[in-house]
Amino acid sequence: MNWALRKAIFSLAAWFLAVSISILIIVLSPGDPALIMLTGFLQQGIPYDQAVRMVQAYIGFSPAEPWWSKWLRYLLGVVTGNLGVSITYRIPVAQLIANAIPWSIFFVSYSLSLTVILGVLIGIALAYYRSNTIFVRSVTTVLTVFNSIPNWILAAVFFVYIGARWQLLPYMGPYSNDVTPGLNLQFIASVLYHYTLPTMVMVLTSIPGWAFGISAMASAILKEDFITYAKARGLPSSRILWTYITRNSILPIYANIAITFTWLLVGTVWLESQFLLPGLGSLLATTSGARDYPVMIGVYVILITAIVLGALFTDLTYGFIDPRARVGET
């Protein structure tokens, strides 16, 4: 357990460092939103001193304050859950993010779990039935096609055809207007129904990467001595397929899952804006355009937290699936 504790402390340090560095970069970079606002007031003919006071009052932000002081004050705010106030929306950043984050988490975990499960199955099948050239070639061709289409193009195509033109699936918004958000069956069903199209786009475009990776891994595993020996012992092929090939093939990708998850939390900007879905991605996209720094920093802080937690989670649980990575046990 000592090891887990050390890992946790290390993660905390990494989090602190990453948050500090990203705040420093944003604070030190040109284009201070307060300065922009200040210039605006000055152009309206307001005297300088009064304009500065107005800005300070407006966003609780002082351009004269030294950078290290801003940084410390912000860090203190982060630790206490206060991420500042959005310049464009005039509401606390924490509240904005809290509204967006469940949608992002839902969308990413829904589509990523489908992607990983299908990707692993297809990859294993590709390696296992490699002697069936027709099967391998046709599946590989389809995968290669989807692999080369960027997800925002597929999103646009699906939006226009499956959505707008043929009206097969809902293509705008996270749920229909006639349901009340909350933990009721109609709402959940409506959300799942509305997310079908975006999820399809996401799954179709990201399956090939997983499938090819798994297939390459499984092809290597198939040549291992322990596979030949398992056959010699007369183990049934289902046992060889699951416990021998699949289990050993997914080990290297396990570490990828948490990283991809956090990356996707903001990596879905295009899909979210195409299908008018709420989420961290669309929040970041709209606020970046308006130079709403408090929100941007807030989103980054949340992402860094997610990445650090994801890595910590992977580290702590890897031993359960791969005994070779187990520590402190003999």
Binding site: F226, P236, Y244
Partner: protein, 322 residues
């Protein structure tokens, strides 16, 4: 040593259209250790895989090849019995193997106990019975069952893995054990321990060994009879004394010269040339391009298998009566 346990008759195996094992005949008698010796790639593992029926799909065995197993009152041709029958009655129950590459033959993600249990389940052995048997066998190979059963392969040394594989091979009381390079990749002291143990196990469980090796010293130690294989053919076969003290085939002589005795200080001799390319084997005797005694006839015709003395067979024109 008179009862035959396994008889291989006219075994021919090819990969695509390339013949890698050609016209192999040999008998293994009950209770003996029969060794197949040859360089890497000479076809000895292919012979073992033919017996275990683990050849890759691209391999083709000629229809008139036979591998007769003499356990039941009537010999059974292992190449002809249906797969399920082979699995139920022969695989691991009559014939088991200790695979080549001990270090990598166990699934890294499951415990040693699971290896025993899955093997037992595949052969419908009762769980409790299997665990007891595994316990006894691990003791017989001088491991601590209590500890080893809960270990993962990564937590064991090469010697321990080799012992586990030997124990695993004996789980269903087989009569014939195929040992494919059982001591390769082990250090010399561990090799010795494994050899001593193999001899003990053989006596204790009444086993017959088919040993596959390129390690002359190991063969000299534990084999009763030896077949020297070159280019997928048996070139010489006899008891171990004849092979080592009275070798006849130029290839056997060359192999033995390549091994140094303890305290001998000389450059080990090698056989000139390299292992043949199976896609373009020379006509006549396959060894003639590397043979110092090659004659005209060697380049034209394959030599017959000649009994030069009692139970000593050589496939070489030097010994043919002309």
């Amino acid at each position: 040593m008179s009862e035959i346990l396994l008889g291989v008759k006219n075994l021919n195996v090819s990969y695509f259209n390339t013949k890698v094992v050609s016209n192999i005949y040999f008998n293994i008698f009950k209770g003996e250790t029969y060794a197949l010796v040859g360089e890497s790639g000479c076809g000895k593992s292919t012979i073992a895989s033919s017996i275990m029926r683990t050849l890759p799909e691209i391999a083709h065995i000629d229809a008139d090849s036979q591998i007769l197993y003499y356990a039941s009152p009537h010999p059974v041709d292992l190449l002809k019995v249906p797969e399920y029958e082979f699995s139920n009655n022969f695989r691991w129950r009559e014939i088991a193997m200790v695979p080549q590459g001990a270090l990598n033959s166990l699934n890294p993600t499951i415990r040693i106990k699971d290896h025993f249990m899955e093997t037992a389940r595949a052969h419908n052995l009762d769980k409790k019975e299997a665990l007891e048997k595994a316990w006894k066998l691990l003791e017989a190979v001088k491991l601590d069952p209590h500890r080893v059963l809960s270990l993962y392969p990564i937590e064991m040394s090469g010697g321990m893995k080799q012992r586990v594989l030997i124990a695993l091979a004996l789980l269903l009381n087989p009569k014939l054990l195929i040992l494919d390079e059982p001591t390769t990749a082990l250090d010399v002291l561990t090799q010795r321990e494994i050899l001593i143990m193999l001899n003990e196990l053989k006596a204790k469980y009444g086993l017959t060994y088919m040993l596959i090796s390129h390690d002359i010293a190991l063969v000299a130690d534990i084999a009763d009879r030896v077949a020297i294989i070159y280019a997928g053919r048996i070139v010489e076969e006899s008891n171990v004394e004849n092979i080592f003290y009275n070798p006849k085939h130029p290839y056997t002589i060359g192999l033995l010269k390549a091994v140094l005795k303890l305290g001998e200080f000389r450059e080990p001799e090698t056989i000139p040339g390299s292992t043949p390319d199976y896609r373009k084997l020379p006509p006549g005797c396959k060894f003639h391009p590397r043979c110092p005694f090659a004659m005209d006839i060697c380049r034209r015709e394959e030599p017959p298998f000649i009994e030069v003395e009692k139970d000593h067979f050589v496939s070489c024109w030097l010994y043919a009566k002309r």
